[in-house]
């Protein structure tokens, strides 16, 4: 565990030693605010809740999280530092988890910095704070799943731009598979089972419940399993690809 933390700490410090951290946090706060207030019509709805705020999180993550994860492994491979890292006495899993946790903690920090939204809505009315807490938990778990996908794909290439684009597409697929437009398209001709299966793979389906305040164990298991699966794939991919220059 100490090794995982040493790797995580290095990665986390790395975010803050470059402008990435500040740019990401500012843009995340700015966009999540804009979306909630303008697109979501926060004031016009006259409701004391943060539904409009959390509704846009999946879409924000689709674009912003690949920007965080693209460097995780691609940069190590390009700079050759992967050889330094993987000849230290760490297992592949420790290295993968360390990097994953660093990014997850970083996203957690960005998410925590949206607390003025929570304060605002409490100032303006009497929201159900349980629902908001559940939404934060859901959003954080979902971010973890996006990060696991991005980290795994970053191990595929030495090129950060490719890592970004491919991660974005894969993340988009995981979100879109629960989007009404897509589901309606399948619902027209495909049997009910297929539509449910597709939608059950979507982040939206599992996030929706939590953002309504329902903390269902199945949704938590879904996100945790997904994180585990992508991180395991990450380990295998690095094992396969580390020798390629």
């Amino acid at each position: 565990m100490a090794k995982v933390w040493a790797i995580g700490k290095r990665e986390l410090t790395g975010y803050f030693s470059t402008p990435i951290a500040y740019v990401f946090i500012i843009i995340f706060l700015f966009l999540s605010g804009i979306f909630a207030f303008y697109l979501g019509d926060f004031f016009g709805r006259g409701q004391a809740d943060l539904v409009t705020f959390f509704n846009f999180h999946p879409w924000l993550y689709v674009f912003l999280i690949p920007a965080l994860t693209m460097r995780l492994w691609a940069e190590e491979r390009r700079g050759g530092t992967i050889e330094l890292l993987l000849t230290l006495p760490v297992t592949m899993m420790e290295a993968v988890v360390g990097k994953f946790l660093a990014t997850w903690i970083f996203t957690g920090i960005a998410l925590a910095l949206t607390f003025p939204m929570w304060l605002t809505v409490n100032y303006l009315g009497e929201p159900d704070n349980g629902v908001i807490a559940a939404s934060y938990l859901g959003s954080f778990l979902m971010a973890g799943a996006f990060i696991a996908i991005g980290s795994c794909i970053s191990a595929l290439t030495r090129n950060q731009v490719i890592a970004f684009v491919v991660s974005l597409v894969v993340c988009l697929i995981f979100v879109l598979s629960g989007f009404p437009l897509v589901l309606d398209f399948f619902a027209g001709w495909a049997p009910e089972v297929i539509v449910t299966t597709i939608s059950s793979f979507s982040f939206l389906t599992h996030f929706d419940g939590m953002s309504k305040g329902v903390v269902d164990l199945r949704d938590i298991v879904y996100f945790v399993t997904l994180i585990g699966f992508w991180l395991y794939a990450n380990v295998i991919l690095i094992e396969l690809k580390k020798a390629d220059l």
């Binding site: 700490k9 410090t13 030693s17 050759g80 530092t81 230290l88 006495p89 297992t91 020798a243």
Partner: protein
């Protein structure tokens, strides 16, 4: 009794290219093994397998009693490694990097140990500068510092002096010599003087296979020029001199070259590398030639290197 590092029948293929083919050797404490070979001969690939970065297709690496395939983490704990080109995190400072490596390697009394290493390697002046802004020489030294931080039993250094100026090269060699007593050191290089300067043993590798293995002196003995006598004489009748010299017992071949000013240089190659200096000297005295220069060639490692690594036929 097993040597500290035992490498047996190591083989690595990349697609249909065999990078390392059935390489076996052993290195023990107190030995400095020089790994020589042309670029692409398989030196780095071998080192990557020893340090557990690449898995061999077949063969084994055992360090201490730990096998790199069964227990890579234990092997990595015993080894300090400077990868080729000394890759480092360019956004970190040397101080942060050493702290990071020390944390992972759980070096006891880390702050103290970092202080020692920084002093040995002369890194004080750049400790707080991002590695990306450092000169090549400093980067290489940071790479060496992280490799020796945990005072490993085995040091694997891939081209430790590449890109350093002569002073820095000398420093690194002095450092290696100082550490050689209680460690097994494997270093790769294509600078042959380095082998003379620091190695107790040299292995020459070409096309993935070991083509020569021995002490630097052993290898020099394999040079066609070993014990060749170079003689420069003034105003000797050339035809006669050439005839007499090549007629010497123990002489295998003769080369002559006019240097100008009436001076001719002869190189007399001995049979089987045996010393023929005495015979040449006697002949010179008998004939009363005016000698400008008389010396014995030890035979350079570079000739041996070229001879054993150039593709046959």
């Amino acid at each position: 009794m097993m040597a500290l590092v035992e490498i047996k029948h190591l083989t690595k293929r990349f697609h249909d290219f065999t990078a390392v083919n059935d390489v076996s050797f052993a290195v023990d404490r107190g030995e400095v093994l020089g790994f020589l070979g042309p670029n692409g001969a398989g030196k780095s690939t071998t080192m990557k397998m020893i340090t557990g970065f690449l898995a061999p297709d077949s063969g084994s690496v055992v360090v201490g009693n730990d096998d790199v395939i069964d227990d890579p983490v234990s092997v990595k704990r015993r080894i300090g490694y400077l990868p080729e080109g000394a890759p480092l995190y360019s956004d970190m400072t040397p101080g942060q990097l050493l702290q990071f490596v020390g944390d992972i390697r759980r070096v006891p009394k880390l702050a103290e140990r970092i202080g020692e290493v920084v002093e040995t390697i002369n890194l004080e002046s750049v400790l707080a500068q991002p590695i990306g802004t450092l000169s090549k020489g400093f980067k290489r030294r940071v790479g060496i510092a992280q490799a020796i931080l945990h005072d490993p039993e085995v040091l694997v250094l891939d081209e430790p002096t590449d890109g350093l100026d002569p002073n820095q090269k000398h420093e690194v060699r002095t450092l290696i010599n100082a550490m050689a007593q209680d460690k097994a050191i494997i270093l790769s290089t294509h600078i042959l003087e380095e082998v003379d300067a620091v190695c107790t043993r040299a292995i020459i590798i070409a096309r993935g296979e070991i083509v020569a293995d021995g002490s630097p002196e052993d290898l020099e003995r394999r040079s066609p020029k070993h014990n060749a006598v170079v003689l420069m004489v003034r105003a000797a009748p050339q035809a006669e001199a050439a005839q007499l010299l090549s007629g010497l017992r123990g002489s295998r071949a003769l080369e002559s070259r006019e240097v100008g000013g009436g001076v001719t240089e002869y190189t007399i190659y001995p049979v089987d590398g045996k010393s023929i200096l005495a015979d040449v000297g006697r002949l010179v005295r008998e004939r009363g030639w005016t000698v400008e220069r008389l010396e014995v060639d030890r035979g350079g490692l570079d000739e041996v290197f070229r001879a054993v690594t150039s593709p046959q036929n």
